[in-house]
């Protein structure tokens, strides 16, 4: 006979641990436990059977893996937290006794924990880290825009702002921005770094206040982790791009609110690179860049030969871009991409593009979309947003001094091709000739044009977005789920019905208008109805005769009859199918049936949503038509 199995000695009861048990085991406070969980990325688990995991109790609790907690028990950070607790006691005692010198020396030897090992543990490879920086970026950008107060120290905000600027610099430098979306929450950006799409949200430039129901301590703990993570990620990104990290900050420019421009990217000297491994990586990266250009050119040539007619909307951009490849290259080296110049010698040493480097190539061909253009930002547009977007896509941009210092050129510059302006059109009677001329030469567009161009991957017609015009809707580049309503597509299924409805409406109008026609109209309608309901040949013929008697011409009758028959034939098999399906459904197991019901419910909900939107669109269009007709 085997040994008796005791309850609670194996299985779920051993594998899971409640939160209070975990806190007890780790001998730390709940706040410390929370901090550890955030830093180590430990989250509660849902046991398959809560009752078994909680030793028979069904009280609502959070469960953690017992192994997770066991690992936490050996965490160096936990030791440091305990040391910090002792330190806090000592310090408060010293302060209470007025022993200032000992308090000072205690404060100097305050235990500080580092998160390097946690970063390495949570993200074993660099790609893992890049995949997970979305939340980190969101937080950094949020805190960079927060005012400092008693809980949020100014140094923290400064550091966040620095990290945000470093990220933007990197994205601009590598032209890895892909999509931009102006939402009501803020601006969503999506970049492609190391083949990972990184999406982050930046709030609009307004002062945010932390609501009282938000626990700042939790956010600060997350921020602690995110700052370290981003530091390491940026270090790797910068060194791989052959740049010095951290980029030196020009304090004078920073004083002048130059923003991103206050940092200057420095090329890392090859002999400065400490290890051979890093060096080889740099070379590889350089090789990638060169080869990417090649690949892009070939792709362009292919697409140009394949689809010549697709360029209706983008006048000469592609051709220009293709021709301007060298020009742009020169421009970059002179202006804001000084990093390209030292790349040229690396070209000779470049290794062949491996599969990996090829796969890390930017997929879109439009990463230098704005390269041929020079933009001027009007005073009321947000400089950080558009400076980042335009420069990420290779354009040059300038801004008035009111938006901050560091503009590479001023408004009178002749090279300006576009002015991004966001104010209503006003007449300017007293304009000088030069100004008028300048006005004519430049294109005045609303900010949405820039973003829509980026998302479309081509330069759109400026007329739609001209100053003072009503903008076309701004759509999300991320799209909705597969069978969601597509606002760009015309109403496909609804066309016939719409026509029909219109006809019906007209018919109603007829009825209202002409009372003398009423007599003929009614039998006609009834005849049509009979045709619709006619099932077999004989009935159809009878209906036809009736229609003829009512004075309906044969064409309309036939059309109507066909439509009705189609509808009937469609309805009948559907009904039959439904009955059969119901019969088959009885053979499903309970589990399968539940899954089926759930899936069907979701589908139905989505379809309803879609239908709702389509209906609204139809109503709006009808309204528009009516208005156009009446005006």
């Amino acid at each position: 006979m085997g040994r008796l199995k005791q309850k609670g000695k194996a299985g779920a009861a051993k594998a899971y641990m409640t939160r209070s048990a975990a806190v007890k085991k780790l001998q730390c406070s709940l706040a410390d436990f929370r901090r550890l969980c955030i830093l180590k990325g430990i989250f509660p688990r849902e046991p398959r059977n809560r009752k078994k995991a909680n030793k028979g109790s069904s009280a609502p609790t959070n469960f953690y893996y017992a192994k997770d907690i066991a690992y936490l028990a050996h965490e160096p950070v936990l030791r440091k937290l305990r040391e910090h607790k002792a330190f806090a006691k000592k310090l408060s005692r010293a302060l209470g006794r007025g022993e200032w010198s000992s308090a000072k020396s205690l404060e100097e030897n305050k235990p500080v924990y580092r998160l390097d090992h946690i970063i390495k543990e949570r993200y074993p490879t660099f790609v893992d880290a890049v995949r997970d920086i979305d939340d980190a970026l969101c937080m950094i950008f949020l805190f960079a825009s927060l005012p400092s107060d008693s809980k949020v120290s100014p140094t923290l905000i400064e550091n966040c702002a620095r990290l945000a600027a470093e990220w933007q610099l990197y994205v601009m430098h590598t032209h890895s921005l892909r999509k931009v979306f102006l939402s009501i929450k803020g601006v969503y950006y999506q970049a492609e770094v190391f083949d990972q799409t990184v999406t982050w949200l930046v709030p609009y430039q307004f002062t945010q206040t932390i609501p009282s129901d938000v626990d700042v301590r939790v956010m600060l703990t997350f921020l602690e982790l995110y700052q370290t993570l981003l530091g390491f990620v940026f270090f790797k990104l910068y060194t791989d791009a052959g740049l010095v990290y951290p980029p030196p900050l020009d304090p004078q420019k920073d004083e002048g609110a130059a923003g991103v421009g206050a940092f200057n990217l420095q090329e890392a000297k090859p002999n400065q690179v400490p290890s051979a491994a890093a060096k080889s990586k740099v070379v590889e990266v350089d090789g990638k860049r060169i080869s990417s250009k090649d690949v892009r050119q070939t792709i362009k040539s292919i697409s140009a030969s394949g689809s010549g007619d697709a360029d209706v909307e983008m006048p000469s951009v592609d051709a220009e871009a293709a021709n301007d490849e060298d020009e742009e290259f020169v421009e970059d080296t002179t202006e804001e991409n000084p990093e390209d110049a030292p790349d040229a010698p690396a070209f000779t040493t470049a290794t062949l593009p491996t599969l990996k480097t090829l796969s890390t190539l930017p997929q879109s061909t439009s990463s230098k979309l704005f390269a041929p253009y020079t933009f001027w930002l009007s005073r009321e547009t947000s400089r950080p947003i558009f400076e980042f977007i335009v420069r990420s896509f290779g354009g040059r941009i300038g801004w008035p001094a009111t938006s901050g210092s560091g503009s590479p050129f001023d408004e009178s510059d002749e090279s300006i091709t576009h002015v991004i302006i966001d104010r209503p059109l006003v007449q300017r009677p007293n304009e000088t000739e030069a100004e008028k001329e300048r006005r004519r030469r430049r294109k005045y567009v609303q900010p949405q044009w820039v973003v829509d161009c980026v998302n479309a991957g081509k330069i759109l017609l400026e007329d739609l977005y001209a100053q003072g015009k009503t903008l076309p809707p701004h759509l999300s580049p991320f799209g909705d789920h597969a069978e969601a309503y597509d606002p760009t597509a015309g109403l496909v299924g609804g066309e016939d019905e719409e026509m029909e409805e219109d006809e019906e409406v007209e018919g109603d109008e007829d009825v209202v208008e002409g009372s003398e026609e009423e007599g003929t109209a009614r039998p006609a309608k009834s005849a049509l109805k009979a045709a619709a309901s006619a099932e077999d040949e004989a009935a159809l013929r009878a209906a036809e005769l009736a229609a003829e008697a009512a004075g309906i011409d044969y064409g309309t009758f036939e059309k109507e009859a066909k439509k009705a028959q189609k509808k009937a034939s469609k309805a009948a098999p559907a009904q039959e199918d439904e009955a059969e399906k119901d019969m088959n459904k009885m053979m499903m197991s309970n589990k399968q049936r539940k899954l089926y019901e759930r899936m069907k419910h979701g589908q139905k909900k989505r379809a309803e949503e879609r239908q709702n939107l389509e209906q609204k669109k139809r109503a709006i269009e009808k309204e528009k038509k009516r208005r156009a007709k009446s005006s």
Binding site: I184, K185, F206, F234, K236, M587
Partner: protein, 647 residues
């Protein structure tokens, strides 16, 4: 006299403080005071009073003071001798008493010391004679410090030094006491003397002590808290020149400590080796140092699963969405009415004509915070997302239309009387049908016309009706009560009828079996038989219900019947006229039985299981578990390979 008293008092100064602190007034002070006045008047009565102490004591009228006076007198005589000796002191005492009448303590003399040349106070010596002991003083009552209530119901309060009873002084009633407090101005300064059981006024000294105690002063009136310091061993000209000890000074006083040096050197060495940094940079200013953390090989273990990414924004979130995304007033009202947690979208789509008009999103921080709460508080489950068409979950069954032809409409309806039909069976050629109902009537129907041809009436309800599957003969079995009747239908062609009669009622009966069974076979001879009565009848063991099922073997020789209860299954062989119960005991109640069409196998269905037996070998072959709660029907395919069970 007064001077003498004062002197005497001074002798008792040691005892005085103790008595003053206690609640009771000093017993010694009072009588003397009183005596000062009375001595002259009552001198003559002394002798009388002392002589008849015992008799007079009874009376409360007698002045209690007289008792005490006696003893005082005696004491006084002794004292007179002492007075002479202390004459030199008396001079001073008298003068002191005059200006400081409240003085209790003996007055010190201030004398210039011969040695120091300083004035010093000299107190009078204490004579250690009999009188100096306060315990032996003139309290007439010598009972000592005992609870005085012991004497409560006695006429005396104790004994004096001579062993005579000290009588209880007369004490007035409450009225007297009150009057006394009114009349006597000294009554409020008097206290009850426990030992003497009477009130005695306090002396001025005692009152002064009380006052001082009340005011938290030193009870000694002479005590001077601000006496000038007298420098005896310090000050100018009094320095110590000579050492107190002649021992030589120890070495440790002037040699540097070896241990201290070792400790210091330890620190010095640590600093030299860099283990201790004397002026370490402050930790607060230490910036995190970044380095190529991903340069070394990653660990082989799998990376922790990444947190799910938040959903990407759709068109509705745009600052300038297509108009159809804007909510209608009803939708807006509904959105506002729902709880923030239940909303499908956390925002309402809004449309702004220009980017500059877009305000700050007020839930920005809150949403970010919620996301973080999700990251560290929400349980995560890894789920494989199903990318299948839900319709693929439905099992494919053959379409009913492919199963045609099947009866789709009712061709014939035969009305039956009001009773419920319990069993029906169709003849193997399909021309006849026989039905049995609850009232015990068995009817024969012609299927094509639906006409009732014949009816048989039995006593109770029919349990089962089953036509024999043989085609060369024609008869059916009816299960009623404990019987199974075999009936030959009417209007049979001649050869079939004789064949049937030969089978059911043969001329020469087969030999009875070796072990007779409880089932009795009784038949009517073929010549007398008609279609009106059963030709053959089986008497089953008694059972409350009729046989609920009759099953023929395909060859038509064996008939199985199922009745209620254990051992309800019987197999009857018509040719041998023999019945046997194949099972002694069956687990569960038997619902149905069935013969295998080709093999000697037998299916028995209980509520949940179908068991398959081999009748020839009498073994259990298989137990089938169809998973049905209650098996109600069962049939076997003619090939015998498939069994269909319904519940």
């Amino acid at each position: 006299m007064a001077a003498a008293e004062a002197k005497k008092l001074s002798k008792k100064r040691k005892a005085a403080p103790e008595e003053e602190t206690s609640a009771a007034p000093p017993p010694s002070a009072f009588p003397q005071e009183v005596r000062l006045e009375m001595a002259s008047e009552d001198e003559g009565e002394d002798g009388d009073a002392s002589s008849d102490d015992g008799e007079v004591d009874e009376f409360p009228e007698i002045d209690a003071r007289s008792d005490t006076e006696d003893e005082e007198e005696e004491g006084e005589d002794d004292e007179s001798e002492e007075e002479d000796e202390e004459d030199e002191d008396e001079d001073e005492d008298e003068s002191d008493a005059s200006d400081e009448s409240l003085h209790v303590w003996p007055k010190p003399k201030t004398v210039v010391s011969d040695i120091t040349g300083q004035p010093k106070r000299v107190y009078p010596d204490i004579e250690p004679d009999y009188d100096s002991d306060s315990s032996t003083e003139d309290t007439p009552n010598r009972v000592g410090n005992i609870p005085m209530h012991w004497y409560d119901d006695l006429p005396h309060v104790g004994y004096d030094i001579n062993g005579k009873k000290v009588l209880r002084p007369a004490r007035g009633d409450e009225l007297d006491k009150f009057l006394k407090t009114v009349e006597d101005p000294e009554s409020w300064t008097s206290a009850f003397d426990k030992n003497m059981q009477m009130d005695k006024p306090l002396t001025a000294e005692e009152l002064d002590i009380i006052r001082r105690l009340q005011e938290n002063e030193n009870p000694d009136a002479n005590y001077d808290p601000y006496e000038p310091t007298v420098e005896w061993f310090t000050g100018k000209g009094k320095e110590e020149i000579m050492p107190l000890s002649a021992a030589p000074e120890p070495k440790r006083r002037w040699v540097p400590s070896k241990w201290e040096k070792q400790k210091v050197m330890k620190i010095v060495r640590a600093i030299r080796q860099g283990r201790i940094v004397p002026n370490k940079p402050k930790t607060a200013s230490a910036q995190p140092q970044f380095y190529a953390i991903w340069n070394e090989e990653p660990s082989t273990g799998p990376a922790p699963p990444p947190a799910p990414k938040p959903r990407l924004p759709g068109h509705a979130e745009s600052y300038n969405p297509p108009e159809e995304y804007l909510p209608t007033p009803e939708e807006r009202a509904q959105w506002e009415a729902t709880d923030p947690e239940d909303r499908e979208r956390e925002f309402l789509p809004q449309k702004y004509s220009a980017l500059r008009l877009v305000p700050a999103y007020d839930n920005f921080i809150k949403e970010r915070f919620n996301r973080q709460l999700d990251l560290y508080l929400a349980p995560r489950v890894q789920r494989t997302k199903l990318r299948i068409d839900p319709d693929s979950l439905i099992p494919k069954l053959p379409s009913p239309s492919s199963l045609r032809p099947f009866p789709v409409y009712k061709s014939l309806q035969v009305p039956h009387a009001d009773v419920r039909v319990r069993a029906i069976s169709v003849s193997p050629d399909g021309a006849w049908a026989v039905s049995g109902d609850e009232s015990g009537v068995v009817r024969l129907w012609e299927v094509i016309v639906g006409k009732e041809v014949k009816r048989w009436t039995f006593k109770s309800k029919i349990g089962a009706v089953e036509w024999c599957p043989r085609t060369d003969v024609s008869f059916f079995a009816v299960g009623v009560e404990d019987h199974i009747h075999f009936i030959i239908p009417p209007n049979l062609p001649g050869p079939v009828l004789t064949a049937t009669q030969n089978i059911l009622a043969p001329a020469n009966l087969p030999p009875p079996p070796a072990n007779p069974s409880p089932v009795k076979w009784s038949s009517v001879p073929a010549a007398q038989s008609s279609s009106d009565t059963p030709i053959l009848t089986l008497n089953l063991p008694s059972s409350p219900e009729p046989p609920k099922q009759l099953v023929w073997h395909r060859k038509g020789d064996y008939l199985a019947s199922v009745s209620e209860g254990q051992g309800g299954v019987w197999i009857h062989q018509v040719s041998r006229r023999h019945s046997q119960a194949p099972f002694k005991k069956v687990k569960g109640t038997v619902q149905l039985v069935l013969f295998h069409p080709t093999k000697p196998h037998f299916f028995v269905a209980t509520q949940r299981y179908v068991r398959m037996y081999n009748l020839a070998e009498q073994t259990l072959l298989k137990t089938l578990t169809p998973g049905i709660r209650w098996i109600s029907s069962m049939d076997v395919h003619p090939s015998g390979d498939h069994l269909i069970v319904g519940g």
